[in-house]
Symmetry: C2
């Protein structure tokens, strides 16, 4: 994987910390990959087929890396962290499959979604299968505490998605309300992934709290950066991975900030544009015109730059939460991972 050079906010050049983390845990990650493919086997042909499409080799494995890193920070010596890491990736993948159905998404990260290729029905069912397999893997790790944390996260993620669905029409949503949604739908799994690494290591309560806090704050930062990147980040650099949120009429922090900073006329634009996107009423030309106008509103209101500033705030909290762990390469990499996540949006 090519190394990407970035300037972190401290002015240091940071390498692609995600690649570094993947390299650092490459032996464990290889075991995670084995578990991921083993549990995809099924007499129902569609399952490995869709599985290969959505969870096959090439994923970033960010959430499993949190479990592996947390276990390492807490001095874990067993092998159950690998099983839990694979289970976490299965949970994540199940939510992706269901999200694409719920959002009617045709594209994810520039690729056609599983539901676009195989249909909604298969996406729902294979998502259910992955969730079932995730729990089987967790059970195999034999930690009731880890099971409790991850099953709790599964319910909270779904709750967050329901909250987002219910709020689809509320263009006036407050930033706080939006944060509650992403805390549930995104940060809960980051937090649980890190927490269980400490739990199976039987780390002291304060360390487990620190790992939870790192995961949660990184998760919020990650989601906000993702929100900003969908509008091309601070430089508004558009490509095949941008514009998906706007096409679906999704309320994300850049929209919420732009809306709150707008006058009555601009707010009417937002309301109409989001509604048109949600209902699929706008044709391509109208959609493109709306998107151009949305970008100009975001520029005028500094909505993207400030979304990234908000993300950086949570990123700082994530880094500080690791303060009570002694110095180690893993700790350094986890801190650099935060900077790297934020830097993606510049």
């Amino acid at each position: 994987m090519a190394e990407i050079l970035n300037f972190s906010e401290t002015g240091r050049v940071t390498r692609d910390a995600l690649s570094d983390l993947q390299t650092h845990f490459s032996a464990d990650l290889a075991l995670v990959e084995t578990q991921i493919s083993t549990h995809m086997a099924s007499a129902a042909q569609l399952i490995p087929e869709i599985g290969a499409h959505i969870i096959g080799a090439g994923g970033k494995r960010l959430r499993p890396l949190l479990t592996l890193s947390a276990a390492s920070l807490s001095g874990y010596r067993g092998s159950d962290h690998v099983t839990l890491a694979a289970a976490v990736e299965y949970m994540h993948t199940a939510t992706l499959l269901h999200d694409d159905v719920v959002d009617d998404s045709d594209m994810r990260r520039g690729q056609p979604t599983a539901r676009k290729i195989w249909g909604n029905q298969a996406s729902v069912l294979v998502g259910d299968f992955l969730l079932g397999q995730a729990f089987r893997m967790m059970v195999a790790a034999r930690s009731l505490e880890a099971l409790d944390i991850l099953s709790g996260a599964a319910a909270i993620i779904a709750e967050g998605e329901v909250m987002q669905l219910a709020a689809l029409q509320s263009t006036h949503m407050s930033e706080d309300h939006y944060l509650r949604i992403i805390d549930a739908k995104t940060a809960a799994l980051f937090s649980a992934a890190a927490e269980v690494g400490g739990v199976i290591a039987e780390a002291p309560e304060r360390e487990i709290e620190a790992l939870k806090s790192y995961g949660r704050n990184l998760g919020i930062a990650f989601q906000l950066i993702d929100d900003a990147l969908d509008y091309g980040g601070v430089g508004q650099v558009l490509g095949k991975n941008t514009g998906e949120d706007f096409r679906e009429g999704k309320l994300t922090l850049p929209v919420i900030l732009a809306f709150h900073r707008s006058d009555e006329e601009d707010r009417q634009f937002w309301q109409q544009a989001l509604q048109a996107a949600q209902s699929g009423a706008a044709d391509e030309a109208q959609h493109d015109a709306n998107f151009t106008q949305a970008l100009s509103h975001m520029d005028k209101t500094s909505a993207l730059a400030d979304t990234i500033a908000r993300a950086a705030h949570y990123g700082e909290k994530a880094k500080d939460s690791l303060g009570l762990f002694p110095h180690s390469q893993t700790r350094d990499l986890l801190k650099q991972l935060v900077d790297f996540c934020i830097s993606r949006a510049y």
Copy 2:
């Protein structure tokens, strides 16, 4: 609940054994109901709303009753059977919500489905929430073995649904292939529900095997009777709860038997009628004409009577599997439950 009198195949008049079982376990069932409503609480308003619609008071609680009965047969003295029974009902309800999305169903048992009222999106997400909560409840029961059995069932159910989806176009499906599908999508949860009752009681292996076998065979019988009832049972008595499978173009055992016993001309009718139903191509008049013709084919081929005869075969296996338990009221009720399930189709 009104008592329904039925003649079992032994010639004895059997009362509504399901009601009797509900009465026998009424104290435990009340605790199950409390757990069911407690775990539906959520900040996301839609969750308790949809929950009340689909899992609210009035359900038969057949699967939870299997857990309660199995625990009782095995002499269990604790309270975790109640928690597991509630978890089983949550799992069942989650699959109902997702099935209705997958099957595009507007009606279930004569009532509008949740997806018809609240949409596919909410049905998928609330299903996910219920599945997450089910696992939380199982964790609360603190039995890794029960967790393993139920999470395994969750994956197998989804696998069965995927198999059914993949086989939608194969009108020539063999009876054996169909049995593998319903073994996974229906019988696996019946079997797991009964098995975990024995597991938490730490019953000897042979008793646990017997409970599994009872649940599995009852599940297969139950599904086959359900299939026959959708065409009005042996008397072809139609009502607001009939015709849903045919409307969705579902391949069930009555269709498979009728198809295999047909000549070339009749087979063409089945293929065209099922395809029209699956694609939604037939208008109401055409659909009604097709349904009438389907019923006449079933009559001519004895497809319904023989579906019920097949069900009775599995029912007998279910009853015999209880032979190694000493005589008790619960054992009698479980045997009568089998007869009652079969008798519904007469």
